[in-house]
Assembly symmetry: C2
Homo-oligomer: 338 residues x 2
């Protein structure tokens, strides 16, 4: 069996996460038992939710256990199989974790899913045609549910979720305003993804300033907002939201390091009769087929060409992850393992 | 025609509202035109929402105009009619405002509604069997929608809305925890309305302390919360809410004087996948018949005996209203005008 490099969670962050929270180890992959398959990972997905799990705090998911392989989504190829459901060469998506290989019980429901790489490059099954894409779809379709011509907004607009949200919203006839960190990202959002406008929040020192910029970008107000960050950006967007608008609350990166991120103007939820809903896409598996079908067509047809930031080799995963938390990635953050 | 004492909004509050914001005037009631009726008000309703309208700020309703009669709900008796729809002696509920008489165009939809005072005392049509009761019903039934045996909570628990919420929730088989200001009110909530527990927030100096008390009162967590006040009370309740719980956001008294009332822990909305919805009951007229039927039975059968704080005479309205904003009332705040 091949050697397998793995990244473990060694200790929990005190405030900001650092490289010293992780530990690289090398071990053998165990021999397969009946019903198991060995998967060689081609790509590892890095996602903001992983930061939350590094804390030992009550949340929707169990904390990442100390001393164990960091959990995470992977795509790869079956290299050995003792299951009738898979054969060597099958391309699969799963939750293989921060390591080069994983041994998977093929019978476990949802553990692996075969993917077709004819029209969609395999890496996109970790991004636009995977969990981040379905996340964007759920918030847009099931929570925001805006009518064609209305304006929606999204923070972290060029990330894996934000860019899929923008592409889906445009395809559904909506006006889309993005908020991102940096002129390069905003330029990309408008020119490549098709956002109608994108605001660089780094040019605004407070919510009042950002709110003024949003007024220009969304002169008719905002009917739906997909929130990835929280804090000042959320405060500013809320001041521009219309009566009966909706907020799909997907992430609050601003608070992952344990700093408090209060919502400054909750009374707007009342005066504008807004609906705000927090959600986790893995709790809504019933929407995945419809969502993946729409996302697969967007990407397969070339209408949406998701951008990726790719780090090379499992050793680079911690630094790439810390960069993601600071917004250094540009599009979906991946680690290439082959 | 009779003389009519009226209270006008003379000027807008700078921060806290004061008696000097109001002005008492006396005038004649105008002669009736065809289609109009003259109503003598028996009771004027005082409600927290009125404070919001005294500000000149964007909200769901137009600001109360300066120099005009304060708007507000009234019950009374038709004393003269030039409309075939009403005759002298009819008991009616309407929006007559802070004055002793009003002239109403009977044809205007929703302007007046006849009420039956055989089983329900007329004043309750301004409280439990009126707008405050329907407000509680909407939040409980349409937003919170808890299952029998689950725990729900409400702030300002002995106010007109909170007490109706408690009575409705108990009748529907829920565990109900109230939060109110003072031992007397909490005692009343448990002994008279039937709350399972009531916490005096004045005994807690911060959200952490109140949260501990809530853990005892709601050992299985809180599935739905009806919010009337915002601020520290809301922060504390949110720390005890369960996954997939709902918040019906009806009022934020804590912020009416223009002080900021941030929400301290908005990340809980995400980690617990909560749904929060702001609403105004007057925008959901379709539920009023069902709600009034259920509330009328609760009150008419004697299962729920709403408590009232009654001030005497139109001159007392401003002080009674300012007291309401400070929680000095005990149950529905009314002004008796006859």
């Amino acid at each position: 069996m091949p050697q397998n490099k793995q990244i473990l969670l060694d200790n929990r962050p005190q405030g900001e996460a650092t490289a010293s929270n992780f530990k690289l180890v090398t071990g053998d992959t165990p021999a397969l038992q009946d019903g198991q398959v060995l998967v060689r990972h081609h790509y590892l997905s890095l996602d903001p939710y992983m930061r939350g799990r590094m804390n030992d705090a009550k949340s929707y998911a169990q904390p990442q256990p100390l001393g164990q392989v960091m959990q995470g989504g992977t795509v790869g190829e079956v290299v050995e199989s003792k299951s009738p459901k898979y054969k060597a060469g099958d391309k699969v998506v799963g939750m293989g974790g921060w390591q080069e290989y994983s041994v998977v019980s093929a019978e476990q429901p949802g553990a692996l899913r075969k993917v077709d790489t004819t029209h969609v490059p395999i890496s996109h099954y970790l991004g636009a045609v995977g969990m981040p894409g379905v996340t964007a779809w759920y918030g847009l379709v099931k929570i925001i549910d805006a009518k064609a011509g209305q304006t929606v907004a999204v923070s972290a607009a060029t990330g894996a979720v934000g860019s899929a949200f923008g592409a889906l919203a445009k395809a559904r006839g909506l006006r889309v305003v993005g908020i991102a960190g940096g002129a390069d990202k905003c330029n990309y959002a408008v020119k490549e993804i098709g956002f109608d406008a994108c605001i660089d929040y780094r040019e605004h020192k407070d919510a009042g300033s950002l709110s003024k910029a949003l007024k220009e970008a969304a002169p008719d107000g905002i009917s739906g907002y997909f929130e990835n960050v929280g804090g000042m950006v959320m405060d500013a967007v809320m001041t521009r939201m219309n009566a009966f608008s909706r907020i799909a609350l997907c992430g609050m990166i601003a608070g992952y390091d344990g700093k408090p991120v209060p919502m400054s103007f909750p009374q707007l939820l009342l005066t504008n009769r807004m609906r705000l809903e927090g959600f986790i896409v893995s709790e809504h598996m019933e929407v995945w087929p419809d969502a993946l079908s729409e996302l697969g067509q967007l990407v397969g047809s070339g209408k949406f060409r998701p951008r990726e930031s790719v780090a090379q080799g499992i050793e680079s995963a911690p630094e790439a992850f810390l960069g993601l938390l600071k917004g250094k990635n540009f599009g979906k953050q991946l680690v290439k393992l082959t």
